[in-house]
Symmetry: C2
Subunit: 216 residues, 2 copies
Amino acid sequence: MLARTLPDEDWTARQGEVLEAALGLLVEEGATLTTAGVARAASCSKETLYKWFGDRDGLLTAIVRWQAAKVKLPRIDRERLDAASLREGITSFARNLLGVLSSDTSVALNRLAISHGGTGLGAIVLENGRREMGRRLKPVLEAGRDAKLLRFDASETAFRTYFGLVVRDVQIRLLLGEDCRFGGAEIAADAERATDQFFALYGADEMQALPAEQNA
Amino acid sequence: MLARTLPDEDWTARQGEVLEAALGLLVEEGATLTTAGVARAASCSKETLYKWFGDRDGLLTAIVRWQAAKVKLPRIDRERLDAASLREGITSFARNLLGVLSSDTSVALNRLAISHGGTGLGAIVLENGRREMGRRLKPVLEAGRDAKLLRFDASETAFRTYFGLVVRDVQIRLLLGEDCRFGGAEIAADAERATDQFFALYGADEMQALPAEQNA
DNA sequence: GCCGAACCGTACGGTACGGTACGGTCGCGG
DNA sequence: CCGCGACCGTACCGTACCGTACGGTTCGGC
């Protein structure tokens, strides 16, 4: 397997510290992030910033990549797959997704990428966010299909439906500034609900036992 | 019926022209919109802009409200409700929603509101976008429930599920700059798929005839 | 025809920020 | 001890843009 399509850039420890400080500042200051502010927060000089990252855009790109490289959730293994483990794998994926999307860091990074038009930042976030999520879950879904536990034609379509059932309007509401921050309990309940609905739509016949209308 | 909860600010014809020009400029220039640019595009002076809207923020707010006041989709009437008309009402709502969300104007306005942190712009977009959509569809859903065609406890939850099934990851992908622009055919197909899935989840028993796994 | 209000076009001050240059400091190899 | 490279802090420059001021023009009322 290829390590990554992206050239997994390796920063030095000091550069990592700077990027970490920049990320923290981005979370609390939003898109009004300034190079002077980063230099101050990271106790480094602007000249060094420009020497390392070349450009303000380069710095922002590095921040996004830095965060993207950090979230390396363990892939779910497809061995030992029965109905219960499949369901738990899918549900835990949803919990994870909701937890990430509702984090301050994710909101700040998505805000940055969105406000930054089309300079590639959005593509990076898309590739390491939404796309990577699909890459994580699809093998599980396909294993479930192989085990006759799920029925679907295209795993991409099935994943997008699950994504919609899980996320619904949460991400856009967070991005638009509504503080519908919810804790672990609500996340777990939402993940359960979405999984119930997903199995009602894509489960093999014997899996569709649970009624779908148990709304939170 | 109350006209609107918002004080339906009435601009003069000339002010409407200016706002229209500003909206067009916002679509093609994005968040880098400048007052001088608006003045140039609208053939008016910056002084007039500040006289009318007070502030750059006031101008942006006026643009958002202006667009919000324009999209006055006809509410669906709940009379003469059988299975076919309910389904058509819901599906046409989904078509409408997808059409609006994928429009350049919607993308630009959402980008603006998102990049603009928490200065109320996001709240306005939320109120006139996502919230208004709920206000439109919920009566239809409740009428369907009264007619024993749908089953759910909270119409809000049912609506949010439908929202997720319709929109999925489309909006965030558009906001992040991916050009997954699709035409009327794809929109119609997506609306049909989402409606099938919605009836599979929330339809009364005799409505769940259609299989759910007909993926695009 | 005259006045005033509204508005257009433009020019200007203030400021914030991206990007650069320069002096000073630390650590290391010779 | 010397030189050197990396880096910090800061001062600085150019530019872009917000917000305002001013002269000129149009238009309705009298």
